[in-house]
C-alpha cells in the first residue's frame, strides 16, 4: 500500500465513527478552521481555482523530491475539503500524486462534492493538484 493510500484509509476510518451528516460536517468545519494559513503572497489571481463557487487558492512548491501544498478558501466547508486533500497529497512524491485516485471521497460520505457541477470545486482542486505534480515531475526527470 502506498503512503497516499494508507492516509486515505486512515481518513476513511476516522469518518466511519460519525453517525450522521451533522457530525461529518462539523468535523470538516473543524479541519477547515485548523488548516494552516497560506502565505499571503500566494493568494494571487493565478492561484485561484476556476470552477468553484467559493474562492480557492492552492499553492505548491517542491521541497527536495516532495510536493508541498498550502491553500485557502473563503468558505469554511470548502476549506475543510482542502484540508483533507492536503493531508493526502502534501509532502508526497509527484509520481505518487499522479498515480493516485480519489475514490476515498466517496467512502467518507462526501460524494455530493464530487459531482462536476459549477457549484463545487473538488474535482477542479484535484485536477489542479495533479497538474502541479505533473509539472514538478518534469522538473525532477
Amino acid at each position: 500500500m502506498s503512503e497516499i493510500e494508507s492516509i486515505q484509509k486512515e481518513i476513511i476510518e476516522e469518518f466511519s465513527f460519525f453517525e450522521d451528516w451533522t457530525q461529518r460536517y462539523e468535523h470538516m468545519i473543524e479541519l477547515g478552521k485548523a488548516l494552516p494559513l497560506i502565505d499571503k503572497t500566494h493568494k494571487t489571481e493565478e492561484n485561484i481555482i476556476k470552477g468553484c463557487q467559493s474562492k480557492v487558492w492552492i499553492h505548491a512548491h517542491l521541497d527536495g523530491d516532495k510536493v508541498k501544498f498550502t491553500a485557502d478558501s473563503d468558505a469554511i466547508i470548502t476549506k475543510g475539503i482542502i484540508a483533507i486533500l492536503i493531508r493526502v497529497f502534501s509532502n508526497q512524491h509527484p509520481r505518487s500524486i499522479i498515480d493516485s485516485n480519489i475514490d476515498f471521497i466517496d467512502n467518507i460520505g462526501l460524494r455530493e462534492h464530487l459531482s462536476p457541477t459549477r457549484a463545487n470545486g473538488l474535482v477542479s482542486m484535484v485536477k489542479q493538484i495533479k497538474m502541479y505534480a505533473v509539472a514538478f515531475q518534469t522538473q525532477l526527470n
Partner: protein
Amino acid sequence: MIDIFKIREDFPILSRKVNGQNLIYFDNAATSQTPQQVIDVITDYYTRLNSNIHRGVHRLSQEATDAYEEARIKIQQHFNVAKPYEIIFTSGTTESINLVASGFSKLLKPEDELVISALEHHSNIVPWQMLCEKTGAKLKVIPMTQEGTLDIKTYNKILNKKTKLVFVNHVSNALGTLNPVDEIIEMAHKNGAYVLIDGAQACAHIKPDLQKMNVDFYVTSAHKLCGPTGVGMLYGKTELLQKLPPYQGGGEMISSVTFEKTTYADLPHKFEAGTPNIAGGIAFGAALDYMNSIGFENIIEYENDLLKYATEEIKKIDGIKIYGDLQKKTAVISFNIKNVHPYDIGSILDQMGIAVRTGHHCAQPIMDYFEIPGTVRASFSFYNTFDEIDIMVKGVQKAIKMLQ
C-alpha cells in the same frame, strides 16, 4: 384562495425525500416544479401524437400541428398579444434574447447606443456586449441603488436620440426587484428607442398584458412557470419581427428554396427553423392553463403572504442582511449572514433536504456592487408552505451554529 394541500398533490416531486428528509424546494426562481397535469400532456404527446408538425399530410402530423398551434394561441391569449404569429417559440429566454440581438446586428450603426440595466442576468448582458463588439454601438448601463432598485433619474439622462434599444428585466433574478417597466418603456419610446423586457423571473408571479405595456419585445421561459425546460417564447410587434432578418437557416423557415435564392416564410415560421420542441411547446400551453386554473390573483396573494412571513422570520436571525428588501418584489429573499460564506449555508441546508440557490446567480455585476461573493437565495412558489419556511429558518440557525 389557495388550497395548499390540494395544490401540493399536483406536484409529485414534492413528496420525494432528499438526504432522508422531506424535500423543501426553494429554488423556484431557477426552475419551478412541474404539476402532474403538465407531465401528463408530455406523456400524452409521445403516447398519441408524436410526429413532425406543419409538413405531414397524415393524421398524426395534423393533430400534433393543431396541438402546437393551439398552444401558441394559449400563450397569445395569456399575454394579451394581438396576433398569434407575434409569438415565436424558442428554446427559452436566452435564445429569444440572442435571436433579437442577432437580428439587430444588421440594423445598427457604430454611433448607435444600447441601454441595459445593472440588475441584469448574464444572459441579458452578454448577447448585447457581443452585439456592440460586432456593430461598434455603445453599451450604457442604468445604475442600481443600495436598495436594489434601478436609478430611473440617471436612466432618463442616459437616454438620447442615439439610443436604439433598451433591455431591462421585468423582475431581477438575484434580488426579486419588480422594475417599473411601464415607465422604462414610455421613456424609451419618447426617444425613439425599442424596448426588450426579459420576463423570465416575472411570469410565474404576474400575468403581463403586453399590449397594454406597449413593449416591443418580451421574452420568457416555460420552465419558470410550471412548464418543461428547453422551451420559451419571444414576443415581438409584427412590424419589428418583419424587419429582423431570420436567426437560423433550415427547414420550416423558408417559403421557397433554389440555389440562386431562398425566400423566407412568413411569421412566425421565419424564426422557427428546424423541428421544434413540439411536446415542450404544447406543455408550455398546458402550464399556462394550470396556472390560470389556480388564478394569478390567488398566486400573488399567497406568495406575498409567504414572502412577508419569510422576511419577518429570517430577519430574526442574528447577523442577517437581506439584499433588496423592497415593497415591490416577487417572492425571493436574497440574504447573507455576517462572516459566513453563502456556499457554506447552502451546503448545510442541502444536507437537510432544503434546496436554495447560492452564488452570484449569473448576475455578477450586482454582487460586485454590494462587494459580496454571492448570496443565499430562497425563492418561493404558490406550492410552498409556511411550515417549510420555519424549517428553513431553523436550518439556517443550525448552519450558523455549526459554522461559528
